[in-house]
């Protein structure tokens, strides 16, 4: 109950705060969701992807 009140008073009350907050949250969620799924995908497919085997074939001398 209190947390909802705080949310309303600090963020939802003025649209000029609410809308940018939505954009910022979406931006942050978008990046973190992508990083999260990517790291799960990489762990699940450990050793199978090109980035896991490229060290055998690429000489990073530069």
């Amino acid at each position: 109950m209190g947390v909802f009140n705080t949310f309303y008073n600090t963020i939802a009350k003025r649209n000029s705060i609410f809308v940018p907050t939505i954009f910022a949250t979406a931006f942050a969620f978008s990046i973190s969701f992508d990083v999260g799924v990517t790291s799960f995908w990489d762990r699940w497919n450990q050793g199978k992807q090109w980035k896991d085997i490229r060290h055998k074939y690429v000489q990073d001398s530069e």
């Binding site: 992508d34 990517t38 090109w50």
Partner: protein, 334 residues
């Protein structure tokens, strides 16, 4: 249009009803002669069980699920499965399901296998089969490094031109060039293969019923024809091929290729690797597609759940409303 049978056609029925010994034909008696389904129902507990939507849903699910499970186990519909317009010879023996390392919803290709598979394609298959839709650049970052691919491309000569003198000329391959075909045209391909045309392999995994399972079974499925099976000269018996007689002879034998990573090159290993390579060739977007799928399923599941909650929140006052019926006050004897 006629909306009911005329009263005259029911004369016989009415006289039958009238013949019944009884008192005055009041509305109540008429009503009691008419049986509505609710007046002769089974006990109300059984009735409410039979009428419930949950029962109907479960019964449907049970039926559909049983049929689906049976079909999955035995490969044909119950009872109807014995009906075949096609014999297995016509359709080709159904290949088994192999546990491909890229088979699961979360599984990427095994890129080491793609790399070995390319080697098998290059050393065994490319003699007869083209791979027209794959360019050298497609291999970069998938199975080989950019320098490796450049080197491989440069080993091949491509015709280019015209130059400023108007002549066509040969030049070493570049990343943007496509895989060189073994024959310049269809006629040359047929001439070198007893009239048969070895198909291009870029899409073969998607162009055959059974996909990778079929190709693997085919490559490893060569055996002697059963007794009595007539097979033309030059054709080869393969139970997985529709019609069972395929022009291509068996090409994979143990030790045919020497893998650079030291993997023993058995027939089944080479088949597995080349099929994985060909699957990649047909579906290069595979890894990206499944990863995007994971994100899509997570997001849409969440959105569906949230939207369901919001719907029920908005509908709550309606779903819990009470409707009261006040019958009209009796205004005298009716």
């Amino acid at each position: 249009m006629l909306s009911r049978l005329p009263a005259s056609s029911l004369k016989g029925l009415r006289s039958l009803a009238e013949a019944r010994p009884s008192a005055a034909r009041s509305a109540a008696q008429t009503a009691s002669r008419v049986r509505f389904s609710s007046s002769s129902a089974s006990s109300s507990a059984v009735k409410s069980f039979l009428d419930s939507r949950a029962t109907l849903a479960s019964a449907t699910l049970l039926t559909v699920g049983s049929i689906a499970w049976y079909t999955h186990l035995y490969g044909s519909l119950p009872f109807l499965g014995e009906v075949h317009a096609n014999s297995p010879a016509e359709e080709g023996l159904h290949p088994p399901h192999y546990p491909w390392s890229h088979g699961g919803l979360l599984d990427s290709f095994d890129h080491s296998s793609i790399r070995r598979g390319y080697q098998v394609y290059r050393e065994v298959c490319a003699a007869c089969h083209s791979l027209d839709r794959i360019a050298w650049r497609n291999l970069v970052g998938v199975s080989h490094s950019v320098d490796e691919v450049k080197a491989m491309a440069e080993e091949v000569e491509y015709e280019d031109g015209p130059n400023d003198q108007g002549e066509m000329f040969q030049r070493p391959g570049k990343l943007s060039d496509y895989m060189p075909p073994p024959y310049p045209n269809e006629e040359a391909a047929r001439a070198s293969n007893q009239g048969a045309l070895p198909p291009d392999l870029s899409l073969i995994v998607k162009a055959r019923h059974g996909g990778p399972d079929y190709i693997f079974a085919l490559l490893t499925g060569y055996r002697d024809a059963p007794a009595g099976f007539e097979i033309r000269d030059g054709m080869n018996y393969n139970p997985y091929f529709p019609g069972n007689a395929i022009s291509m002879a068996r090409v994979l034998f143990d030790g045919l290729v020497e893998y650079e990573d030291g993997t023993p090159a058995t027939t089944s290993q080479m088949a597995k690797d080349v099929v994985t390579f060909l699957n990649w060739a047909a579906e290069p977007e595979h890894d990206e597609r499944k990863k995007a799928g994971l994100k899509a399923v997570i997001l849409f599941s969440a959105l569906t759940a949230i939207s369901l909650y919001v719907k029920r929140y908005k509908w709550a006052p309606i779903k819990s409303r009470k409707i009261i019926y006040n019958p009209p006050a009796d205004k005298g004897h009716h």
